[in-house]
Amino acid sequence: MTKTITDVVCPFCGTLCDDLEVSVTDDGKQILDVYNACAIGAEKFLHSQAKDRITRPRFQQPDGTWKETSYEEAADYTAKMLAGATKPLMYGWSSVNCEAQSMGNEIAEICRACVDNTAAVCHGTTLIAVQDIGLPSCTLGEVKNRADTIIFWGNNPCHAHPRHMSRYSIFPRGFFTGKGHKSRKMVVVDPRITDTAKMADIHLQVTQGQDYELLNALRVAFKGEWLPDVVAGIPKEKIIETANIMKAARFGIIFFGMGVTQSLGKNHNIDEAIAVTKDLNEYTKFSIMPMRGHYNVTGSGEVLAWQFGYPYSVDLTRGFPRYNPGDTSSIDLLNRGEIDAVFVIGSDPGAHFPISAVKHIANVNSVCIDPHITPTSGISKLHVPVAFNGVETGGNAYRMDNVPIDCRKVVDPPEGMLTDEEFLKMVRDRVKKLKGVA
């Protein structure tokens, strides 16, 4: 016989689906199957069951081999590294629950470190733009129940947030959207013909790197001012048609992704997209929302903002928080050689940072906290495997619309394995002793 656990929260992407069902063995030790999840989410649960999982911390030897150690020794090494460094960087935090993030921030404050999350290579530019001009946003529930005009700008939810369209944005029949996708207009702006673009009523195939110009052209079109014949590869008539569709919406929303946040223009693209949203509120109700990637990257921003006042790239080296991406952001710190110790948790800069930055991680003392073997763990001096958040431990996480949701523990981690929070607590206690903090 098996047991089925219902209402499980998926710890993969920022959509944070909370309707999963997981069947486990009677003793509650093994996951047998996952229902309702997308392929990526199901895999997140199932690969935690791998028999060849690393279950104990290990030090990398000079010849590249690994030597197993205890959590105590691993915590000693981590605490000494962080407490002894002149400018340590604590990066990641996006696949970690809020409780562990808060514990990590305490360590960062004691050690006067730089703390950064994966927004640095993702939606950090969004956060800059939000600080510059604000964010007229809403919750995904409002989108489901009210939105009749959906714009996906520079993202591909078909593959990156597979259940987003069925749960919130396109297909569900909500309170005022009883006809589901038949009552919704879908616009996709993407230089590529993605699977999402193929579904759209209107696909604006924008010239790569010219989103800023196209957004600006929409604002000009709202005001009925003069426009050039073609902007960013899109004919003037098409821009005016799209502008009119947006104005005619009862409730519209722009979902945007890395296609605009990390292409030419960066924060200015988002700045202009928010200005588009603001302009549209002269005519109708319009909202805008970033499609956050990691399941709790939003939570990391929330916790950092709650504790230090800034959502990412926080520099605590002078004893008070400072924030200026370009100076205090991870890639810049690494590329410029400003960092002498790197602590990575719940993310994989080894796979996502420029190689110049990755080389710098390899050259300094480094610790990687991750249940998986990743390119980052491969170049770290110490690899600490931990329990899977949202699978083997619960904890709080924030959905992409800033709604906090408590995750559920489904099975126990392998014998003797610690959670992120438990390991960080050990490090925090040691750091306090080393720094002489009561």
């Binding site: 510059d132 010219q210 600006n216 052209a217 000009v220 200015h268 370009g326 100076d327 002498d340």
Partner: protein, 266 residues
């Protein structure tokens, strides 16, 4: 004017934050007192004297104080931050925030400077003989007030986001700039003798941008008005005159819409 010379003798392993290298801080202090001023390397506080050899004399006030910075200061941030008077000469290249928030005086950098130079500058003069980085004369993060006064001259090229949220003052760049020149500008004047690739003066509310070279992609919010003859920096030439950003908010003055002005040499 009394001159203090500081020479880098013991370069930092990481980077140094030295906002006290400023005439306002040096004024009225002896050489020994100057060497005791604080600097930070990461989270470690130490003194200017640990890294620099200090010689010469400081004036009684900032106006009477000139600072000459010698040696390799490529890893020193915040030189000339918040200076209000006097003079700084950096004989090589320096790092982030050079002359940031300066309100007066004169700062000359003979090499290159990195990003965030002259952040929210209010007055004075900053001259860079080499290249400047990104965010020259821009607002600090989250602020809506960039450079509001003073003058910047860059003899080489400058990076992206130059003059973001600029509200006043004048900037001359002899070389090229990168994207997002004068974004969100609400005043001031920027002259670029070279080229600007794209996103020039996006979301501009008010102010002037003059480009002598090419613009690869023009913002759709800029509308051609007429050709005008202008005398810029002693050069008289014909310029195409555009107004914008027509997508952005604009106020009216004496019944007339106030736009940003973009001039491109024909």
């Amino acid at each position: 004017m009394a001159t203090v010379t500081i020479t880098m003798k013991n370069p930092p392993a990481l980077y140094l934050e030295a906002e006290y290298i400023c005439p306002d801080e040096f004024a009225g202090k002896t050489v020994a007192q100057i060497a005791e001023l604080h600097v930070y390397e990461g989270n470690t506080k130490s003194t200017l004297g640990k890294y620099f050899e200090v010689s010469g004399d400081a004036g009684a006030t900032a106006e009477d104080t000139k600072i000459v910075v010698r040696g390799d200061v490529k890893k020193v941030k915040y030189i000339g931050m918040k200076m209000s008077a006097g003079e700084i000469v950096v004989e090589g290249s320096t790092d982030l925030y050079a002359g940031a928030w300066m309100t007066g005086g004169r700062m000359l950098v003979k090499g290159d400077i990195q990003a965030f130079a002259a952040t929210a500058m209010k007055g004075g003069e900053l001259i860079i003989e080499g290249n400047a980085g990104n965010y020259l004369g821009a607002a600090y993060r989250g602020d809506w007030r960039g450079m509001s006064g003073g003058r910047i001259l860059v003899k080489g090229n400058a990076g992206s986001d130059v003059g973001m949220y600029m509200t006043g003052g004048e900037m001359v760049i002899n070389g090229n700039v990168d994207v997002h020149l004068a974004t969100h500008a609400e005043g001031g004047k920027i002259i670029v003798k070279g080229n600007a690739p794209s996103k020039v003066a996006g979301q501009m509310v008010e102010g002037e941008v003059i480009i002598f070279g090419t613009i690869d992609v023009m913002m759709p919010g800029f509308k051609y008005v007429d050709d005008v003859d202008l005398e810029i920096e002693g050069i008289t030439a014909k310029f195409a005159h555009y107004v914008g950003d027509t997508g952005e908010r604009h106020k009216k003055r004496k019944g007339q819409m106030v736009y940003g002005h973009l001039y491109q040499k024909i």
